[in-house]
Each structure stands twice: as structure tokens, then as C-alpha cells.
Amino acid sequence: MTIAIRVENISKKYKIGAAPGKFRYGMLRDQISALPRKLFRREEGQAGVNYIWALKDISFDLEEGRVLGIIGRNGAGKSTLLKVLSRVTEPTLGQVAVRGRVGSLLEVGTGFHPELTGRENIFLNGAILGMKRAEIAARFDEIVEFSEVGQFIDTPVKRYSSGMYLRLAFAVAAHLEPEILVVDEVLAVGDAEFQRKCLGKMNDVAAQGRTVLFVSHNMSAILRLTQEAIVIQKGQLVKRAPTPAAVDFYLASGQAQAGERIWQAEDVPAASAPFRPLSLRVRDPRGVVADSFRSTEALTLEMEYRLTAPITGLRVGIYLSTVRGEYIFTSFDVDQPDLYEKYSTRPAGHYLSRCQIPADLLNEGRFILGVNASAFGVKRYFMDENALALTIDSMGAPGMQWAEPRQGPLRPRLAWTIEMAE
């Protein structure tokens, strides 16, 4: 097999405070005296400046036609790695050899101009992504069809809904047909139907023998789409393994520890406001916060959050899923009509939404709790599909007299009766 990407000892250093996403511009006055000396040289080795290594000594090879998942918590360096691979930013040390064109779905819609029509933006965006005019023209109809914005194609995109905008942007990027496709969190947005389409498109890309790098916080998507994954922690590659093993490693080592997930301010996207998640905990019947429980115990889930402004129609809920990404159930705190009436508008304040998972429900194994705060049909404020992991032990569960694993995520204690019919 041919190697599509060879990453050799890549490191990337940022000046603290100058990391992406933070705003700090130098003061011209401070540096004007040093100007002549500095102008033709790169800034380095200045006294009193602190650096952080966003990536440290990362090496891996990827064969052509493979799909590689990249897992890591926020700030671990996943995005920096993708930026280096897509040549947005240069590594400080090391080298990457990339065979073929790298197409990035890092941020779809880059270079879209609000005043231009959908048609004009398709051409512009295609050119920015490195397509030739003729290539774009040849795929134009396909792009429009994929994006489902057909009748608005000659309307300025500033009049598009955010969903239409996103679909159009993704459509252009998805039809770039590069040898190597880099996919970031793009799938976290858009409606379910569109997500399905995007995943389908990604599958097509992989099926055509092209290489895909897929980054997501959505473990179920990673598990579905990739066979192999790498785990990045604090800028270092800590694990490369078949995806299920890598996901387990990540869940066991990452933030899912000790039965409590705490969100720091920097973990929460600005778009979540006015909803601010604080923590998610699981308690056993004695009120102890833990991460492993007995199947025969009832668990108490506590979601703590703050509203900085009132929200109408807010529902805060949890997903429970298996580590393989299959959903077991979804439940919201205002599922009951009387609570829904009472909290039709939640005033600003500090809240605790609590519920119980009854005893004798779950099978042994590892489970993932996700969090969702949304107003139905209006806005999804916050979503974390991988907020917390917990382990269930089947001691005392029904059927333990046989030492066999039971199929399925549930192990309910059902009230069997046996009658002898004649």
C-alpha cells in the first residue's frame, strides 16, 4: 500500500496568549525600537515570553484509502494537527509528507461572501478550496442538488437560513474530491437528515479509496465511520489502536472520571449562552458520587447549570448510549406535562435537574451519558454526547446463575410467571 500521509515528529509551539482563538495584538510602540532587528527574522527566543507546545513530537503513517479517527478532548491539539496537515499553519519542527490534494471540511463556508448569490459563492468557495473553474462548473448541478437550495441559488446567501447556508457550504467542500479529506466537527451541526447525508458522502469518499481523517467528539460517529483511531492528549499521540479500543482508552483516561463531569468556562462554546452547563454527576443510592454502580441499584443523575437569561421552552435532558454509540434512551426534565407547564419559561438562575434511573434496568458494561439543552424547534443551546462514562456491574442481576454475558444493553428484572397449561 502507498502511504498517503507520513507525519514525522511534528511539533507546534505557540506563544502563550497568541494561541488561536485568543486575541492579543502586539503593541506597535513596544516593538518599534526593536523593529529593524526583527523585521527580517522570525520572532524567537525573546526573553520573558512563555511558549506552549500545542503539538509535541507527533508521528504516524496513514495508508491510502484508510479512514482514521482522531480523538481527544478540547484543547488536546486535534485542531492544530489538522491545521498543520491542511497547511493553514506551519509546524515549528518536523515534517509531513502528504500525497495528493488535501481537502478540508475544517470550517465549511470559508470565504463565503454574504452579498454574493449561492451560485457565485459556489465558484468562489470552490476556488478557495483549490478547485479549477472547469471542475466546479462540471460539478455545479451535483453540488446544487446535494445542498437542496436549488430555487434560492440566485439569492444572496445573506438571506439564507443558517441551515441552507451550511448545506450549501458543505456541498461545495464535499464535492472537492481531494485525495485526502479532513473532516472536523462539521457533523455536529445541521438536522438529522442532513447529517445522514454527510456521513453517506464520507462513506463514499472512503469507498473510492481516498484517505479520510475524521475528528469528532461524537464517539458513535467515530465508531461507525472509522476502523482505526489515534488518541491525542496534551499535544501528544498517546494511543493508536482499532477504534473500539481507542475509544475505550479515551473514555477511561479522559475527562470521564470519578462519576462527575465539570465544565470549565473554556469548554463551553460561546453560542451556548445563556445556558451554561456546570456539572453532571451520578450518585448511588447512598448519595455517593461514583463511576461504577451495580445493576441492582437505582442511580441518581444530577445536571447542574446556570441560566444567565431566561429561556422559554428550555428542556434539559440526557442521552444514555453504549460505548458503541447505540442510543438506549433519551429523557428530558420537562417530559412530564405538569413540569413543562410550570417551567414554560425558566428565569435566570442556578438550577439542578435530577432524575433516577431505576434499579434492575441496565446490563453490565460501560455506558455513556450525553447532555442536551435545547428549545424544541428553536435552538439547541448545548450538546455534549460524551459527557460522562459509567460502568455497570451485574452483581445480583437476574440470571447470574449462568456465567454467560447477556446480549443487549438492558437487563431488566421482569416479573415472569410460569404456569403449567394442563
Binding site: F40, V84, V88, V96, A97, E115, L124, I128, L129
Partner: protein, 277 residues
């Protein structure tokens, strides 16, 4: 599908990093960005491309009133003042628009820079070149005025105008490269630009004749490439002055020096654009 080429991504150093081959690969993007700038410039304006005419014409009227009627600044030749100033306002307008949009081109497209790879040079280049359309539109007015005032262009116009136009572009691009790269790190540039443009306008014989500048200052004047451009335009179009001289060569030399140093500085800073912008 062609056999894919292997790209090596590694820390770059020195002049080799200028990477003009990459720019050639992305030449279509330059055209697309020019096209975008032009398409967007007069979107949602009632007068549209008329603004390309209104701006220099209004300037000309103000200058005529201030410098001709009130200050009675002497001009050479038998040329009516409106035509005298308009012939200079055209290249000046091209230069100042190009300089301003190029200097802001990186910061106003920061999204593109922090998300995708392309040679960053594309942005200031496209900004500078897109000004040519406005120039062409306003040029029609100049032709109309020359017919109205009965002034015939000199025979040099065919070779001299393209050369002076090129000199304008080179100067604007050179200074624009410096300022756009500086602007990424120091947003002070955005505030200094209007002042710089205004100062440069006064230091260029747009509203007045370079004849009024006394001997000692003449040399300093030749250091301003735009002075050479404006004089050249008047010479080729209206037959004023003596035409290309040593001063023009100084202008060209300075423009090229600014352009080359600008390219080097830009390329050096380009490495960190995505991180600092």
C-alpha cells in the same frame, strides 16, 4: 485522475520560501478574488458603479473650487484646471484605493486565512488589481473631458500610460504588502492609514503643479513614486512638462525596492498569519 504529487509540509526558512510557483498554481483564485471584490463593491448601493465616477469628479470639483478659484494656484500650460487635476486624480484614486484595500485585505479575510491554505499573496494582489475596473470607468470621463476642452493627448500615450499604470500598481502593492502584514500583528495600521493616505496626497502634485516645488525639495519629491506617476500622466495625456527624466528612474527604483522588501517581509510574516490574525 493524475498521479498525485507529494507535498512536504515543514518549517520554512529564507528566500526559497517565497514560493512563487504556488502562486502560479493559484492564479485562478486571484481572478476569483478580483471578481469578488468587484461584484461586492457596489452591492446594495443605489448608484452602483456610478460611484467610480462620482468620487473623482467630486474631488475634482472641490479642488477646482479651493485651489483654482480661491487659492489661485498657478498651473503650467494652457490646460483648464479641472482637466489638470482630473488627469492626476485618476492614478491617485487607483493608488489610494489599492493601498487601502490591500492593507486591510488580510484582516478583512481573516476567516479564509485561519481556515484554509492558499498563498496569502493572493489577497493583497487581488485587492490592488480590482481597483483597475474603477480606473477604467473613470477614464471614460477623462476622455469626455478632453474632448469637451479640446485637448488632444500626446503620441506617447500608448507606451507611457501602461508604464505609469504599472508603476502605480507596483507602488501600491509594495506598500500594501508591508502594511497588510504589519496590520495582522499591529492593528494600529488601520488607524494610521487614512492619515497616511491624506499626507501622501498632499505630498503628491495632484491639486497643484510640481513646478511650484522649489529646487531643494525637488529631489525629495522624486523619492515619491506617485509624484513621478502623476507628472507622467499629465505629460502623456495633456502634454505638460518634460516627460521621463532621471527622476522617473529614481521613482521606479524606489518602487521596486519597496515591492521586493515588501515581498520578503510579507513572506516572513506569512508563516504566523494564521496564528496571530
Amino acid at each position: 485522475m493524475n498521479e498525485p504529487t507529494t507535498v512536504y509540509i515543514k518549517p520554512t526558512t529564507g528566500f526559497a520560501a517565497l514560493n512563487l510557483g504556488d502562486l502560479w498554481q493559484y492564479r485562478e483564485l486571484v481572478l476569483f478574488m478580483i471578481w469578488r471584490d468587484i461584484m461586492v463593491r457596489y452591492k446594495q448601493t443605489a448608484l452602483g458603479a456610478l460611484w467610480a465616477i462620482i468620487q473623482p469628479v467630486m474631488n475634482m470639483l472641490v479642488f477646482t473650487f479651493l485651489f483654482d478659484r480661491i487659492a489661485k494656484v498657478p498651473i503650467d500650460g494652457n490646460i483648464p484646471y479641472p482637466l489638470f487635476s482630473f488627469a492626476a486624480l485618476l492614478p491617485w484614486g487607483l493608488f489610494s484605493t489599492a493601498l487601502n484595500t490591500a492593507s486591510r485585505s488580510l484582516t478583512s479575510n481573516h476567516n479564509m486565512i485561519s481556515k484554509t491554505y492558499f498563498p496569502r499573496l493572493v489577497l493583497p494582489m487581488a485587492s490592488v488589481l480590482s481597483g483597475l475596473v474603477d480606473f477604467a470607468i473613470a477614464f471614460v470621463i477623462l476622455i469626455g473631458m478632453m474632448i469637451y476642452f479640446g485637448v488632444a493627448p500626446t503620441a506617447h500615450i500608448w507606451w507611457a500610460l501602461p508604464i505609469f499604470l504599472l508603476l502605480t500598481i507596483i507602488t501600491a502593492l509594495g506598500v500594501g504588502l508591508w502594511l497588510s502584514a504589519l496590520n495582522v500583528q499591529y492593528r494600529d495600521i488601520g488607524y494610521a492609514l487614512p492619515f497616511l493616505t491624506q499626507f501622501w496626497l498632499f505630498a503628491t502634485p495632484v491639486a497643484y503643479s510640481s513646478k511650484v516645488v522649489s529646487g531643494a525639495w525637488q529631489f525629495l519629491y522624486s523619492l515619491n513614486p506617485m509624484a513621478g506617476v502623476v507628472n507622467g500622466f499629465r505629460w502623456a495625456l495633456l502634454g505638460i512638462g518634460t516627460g521621463p527624466s532621471l527622476e522617473l528612474w529614481i521613482s521606479i527604483g524606489i518602487s521596486l525596492a519597496v515591492l521586493i522588501s515588501g515581498l520578503i517581509y510579507f513572506r516572513n510574516m506569512e508563516r504566523t498569519f494564521a496564528d496571530t490574525i
